[in-house]
């Protein structure tokens, strides 16, 4: 199988998985226990936490500076998002109860979008900010959605379908300005789902002015079931229990997963420049090939190879006149894995098109899109094979 679905998940790094499994066997104590075994396990857990924090920091690969803030290990990106958003139910910004208003982009991953819809259903006002046709949410649009009583703003770092890198630094400063103009005491809590950013683009949450950011291990060759919430501000937990992870994510810690995550994050951080250069080459090859398939369109319309506004690891392509789902099926039969929209939401409903349609794409074009996403192990031959199969399937099945 030629795997071009790295944004869904990535093949785990075997050495990392084995190292962390062995570690979990050796240091099996409960990190919360008072005895020696507990202390040993707790020591390793803190080591993993520090390593992950280091992988977020700025600086050149050779001398990483640790990021500011704290790390809360979670079961994955979705849970990290949920902790940040659901905490708004415990914000007492007014005497009347939970946070009155939040702002999210219309192109958030379901992990944020569906939580926002839930909060909306519970009576919270939610503003959904659309991106431009380029898939990018403008700082001005976000700032103009701000209200005096806005408690949270959530904008993803890199869109999982288009690869569009959102201008978080600009949004952060626009929010600070708008806050001052509204006479607020402080800007709102600023969260970012950074699942497609970590290890793919440089990402320093503190420097970007974020309050929190969500990560997932399995997107960067770590294991499933592990993620993290970076925190630069305070949150109130909604799920209570034994007080682990600052009380925000109770439950006995997953040392095996957390250790593996920290190793995978470190590895992806130190190899970032090389891998990104590789991804740029693949992106250029892919886009050049697509331009020779009559009718095929790289999305967002106008995206060119090497455009720094997009993650080179992700490219959506439309094949007008052929449903993306059908093309993905035909490619799968030819041994090539791509996806239509977000893999976890495309199972049989039309929600997978929410993001492309929010960009103002014509529904028939959005409907015909597939997502190609690359990773460390993707080679030029894989791109060539995809181009060839896509070309022939499109010619044969287009209607």
């Amino acid at each position: 199988m030629i795997y071009l679905d790295w944004a869904s998940t990535s093949p785990p790094d075997e050495a990392i998985l084995q190292e962390s499994a062995a570690l979990a066997v050796r240091f099996f104590g409960n990190p919360s226990s008072r005895h020696g075994l507990g202390a040993e396990a707790s020591g390793r857990l803190e080591e993993a936490r520090a390593r992950l924090l280091r992988s977020l920091g700025g600086g050149r690969a050779a001398e990483l500076r640790p990021a500011q803030g704290r790390i809360v290990f979670t079961s994955g990106g979705s849970e990290a998002d949920a902790i940040a958003l659901l905490a708004m139910l415990r914000r007492k910004d007014t005497r009347r109860g939970p946070a009155p208003h939040i702002v999210v982009s219309a192109i958030e991953h379901s992990a944020v979008y569906e939580e926002a819809r839930l909060l909306e259903g519970m009576g919270m006002a939610v503003s959904y900010v659309n991106p431009g046709p380029d898939g990018i949410v403008s700082p001005g649009e976000v700032a103009s959605a701000l209200r005096k009583d806005t408690a949270l703003v959530a904008i993803m770092a890199v869109n999982n379908e288009t690869g569009a890198i959102q201008p978080l630094a600009g949004i952060g400063s626009a929010l600070r300005e708008a806050s001052a103009a509204l006479g607020r005491h402080e800007p709102p809590f600023f969260h970012s789902d950074a699942v497609q950013a970590l290890g793919k683009v440089s990402f320093d949450p503190e420097a970007l002015g974020l309050s929190s950011a969500a990560f997932s291990a399995h997107k960067l060759r770590g294991p499933r079931g592990t993620g993290a919430l970076w925190l630069g501000a305070k949150l109130e937990p909604l799920v209570l229990g034994g007080g682990q992870e600052e009380g925000l994510r109770p439950g006995t810690e997953n040392l095996q997963g957390d250790w593996a995550f920290s190793l995978a994050a470190e590895k992806s951080r130190t190899s970032l420049e090389a891998r990104r250069a590789h991804a740029r080459e693949l992106e250029a090859r892919l886009m050049a090939g697509l331009s020779s398939i009559e009718g095929a369109l790289a999305l967002p319309l106008g995206r060119a190879a090497g455009d720094e506004r997009y993650s080179p690891f992700i490219l959506s392509v439309a094949f007008p006149g052929l449903s993306g789902e059908v093309l993905a099926r035909a490619l799968s039969d030819a041994g090539i894995a791509v996806s239509t929209g977000a893999a976890c939401s495309s199972r049989g409903n039309k929600k997978g098109r929410r993001i492309l349609e929010a960009m103002g794409l014509r529904p028939d074009i959005a409907f015909s899109a597939i997502r190609v996403s690359t990773g460390d192990l993707t080679g030029e031959a894989d791109i060539d094979a995809f181009l060839e199969e896509a070309r022939s399937a499109y010619r044969k099945l287009k209607i």
């Binding site: 449903s323 059908v326 039969d333 199972r347 049989g348 409907f367 209607i399």
Partner: protein, 392 residues
């Protein structure tokens, strides 16, 4: 005091000339479905008595509720033909109903053995008295009873409470075999069930347009066929690949006619397939005016591509009624699974609503689908769906 299922057969009793044949079909059908579940099946005039194997009661009830030709059934106490034994059983029936919170009741008796010391009237009266003596909270109410205590004095005495409704109708196969056009939707399984309960044996055909339609869509149709097979007692699912035909239509037909042409091709293919498998009729889930292809003119057009009778039992139903029946037979939850059976890219934005028979038949002929349809039917794939007990 043992228990036995007392099964009531209905419409068969009205058949004079060929009642024997109907009964034979029902017997054979019951015997096959109850294989391994029933210890004994006893056929008597107007009644069938079934002894379930221990532990198989749930399966037996699920089967009896689904066999066409059965009006209803009840779990009955089988006792000696003495008034005392009947009263004891009647009190047991009354106690079960009372513990379910029911209060108002009446008693009904039938006596085919006239040597029994009480007349039907006397027996009902005394059952009422026995029940209210034993359970003072019960009251007799002849007009709006919450439950009925039934007593039948025959070879033995049988006492039972409320009857569970059956599928009614006629035994499967007594009206020949039909071919059901099964899509993944809500309507066609219901149409199949309705026709099966009129005694039509069924096979089903599904038109698969891979890769335009997904494997999941096919799996869904197999699940629906299993549900329908729970009523028909097993069937074959025939899958005809329609990809080439669909593409040819999309390329050559005028856009507003594509759906109609597709329906016509499906009718033609179904007719060819029916001849091959010995089916004498087609069954569809069409309902008048429900979608563009189901107007009177368009039904005339698509119907003109077969010389077989086309049964459309939902033709006069509205969607709500159909959904109610789909829930009843347990197909609704499967039908609403989201795998579209027909890619929307094939659907015209403004479909032709009123086909002109001659003009559109010519348009269809011009596309020249004949050889493609023949080839598709030649390559048909058969999936036998054996009978198995299903419970909604």
């Amino acid at each position: 005091m043992d228990t036995v299922y007392l099964v009531k057969i209905g419409e068969i009793l009205l058949k004079l000339g060929n009642r024997k044949e109907f009964e034979a079909r029902l017997k054979a059908d019951l015997k096959r479905r109850l294989e391994g579940k029933a210890a004994r099946i006893d056929y008597r005039p107007g009644r069938i008595f079934i002894e379930a194997r221990p532990g198989a009661e749930g399966d037996v009830e699920a089967i009896l509720a689904r066999v066409p030709g059965i009006n209803g059934f009840a779990r009955a106490y089988r006792v000696e033909k003495t008034p005392e034994a009947v009263f004891e059983a009647a009190v047991a029936v009354a106690r079960e109903a009372a513990s379910a919170g029911k209060r108002r009741f009446k008693a009904e008796s039938r006596r085919s053995d006239k040597s029994f010391p009480l007349t039907s009237y006397e027996l009902s009266r005394d059952i009422g008295a026995a029940a209210t003596d034993a359970l003072p909270e019960l009251v007799v109410d002849l007009h709006t009873p919450e439950f009925i205590i039934n007593a039948e004095i025959r070879e033995r005495a049988f006492v039972y409470g409320d009857t569970v409704h059956g599928t009614r109708g006629l035994p499967v196969g007594s009206q020949g075999r039909g071919l059901l056009l099964l899509s993944g939707g809500i309507d066609s399984p219901v149409a199949g069930w309705l026709m099966a309960s009129r005694g039509l044996g069924l096979d089903a055909v599904y038109y698969h347009a891979y890769p335009y339609t997904s494997q999941e869509a096919h799996d869904k149709v197999v699940s629906l066929a299993r549900i329908v097979a729970g009523y028909t007692g097993g069937m074959n699912l025939w899958t005809v690949s329609f990809t080439e035909i669909q593409m040819r239509i999309k390329q050559l037909a005028r856009e507003d006619l594509t759906t109609l042409m597709m329906r016509a091709a499906m009718m033609e293919a179904a007719t060819l397939l029916a001849a091959r498998i010995g089916a004498n009729s087609l069954v569809t889930g069409e309902s008048l005016g429900q979608v563009a292809s189901q107007t009177v003119e368009n039904l005339r057009f698509t119907g003109s591509f077969t010389d077989l009778p086309v049964f459309r039992p939902l033709i006069g139903m509205d969607k709500e009624e159909t959904v109610g029946m789909a829930r009843h037979i347990g197909s609704f939850e499967t039908s609403i699974l989201p795998y579209e059976d027909c890619c929307v890219l094939f659907s015209p934005k403004h479909p032709m609503l009123r086909a002109d028979l001659a003009r559109e038949r010519k348009a269809y002929a011009d596309i020249g689908l004949g050889p493609l349809i023949e080839e598709a039917v030649n390559k048909v794939e058969r999936l036998p769906i054996p009978f198995q007990v299903t419970r909604p």
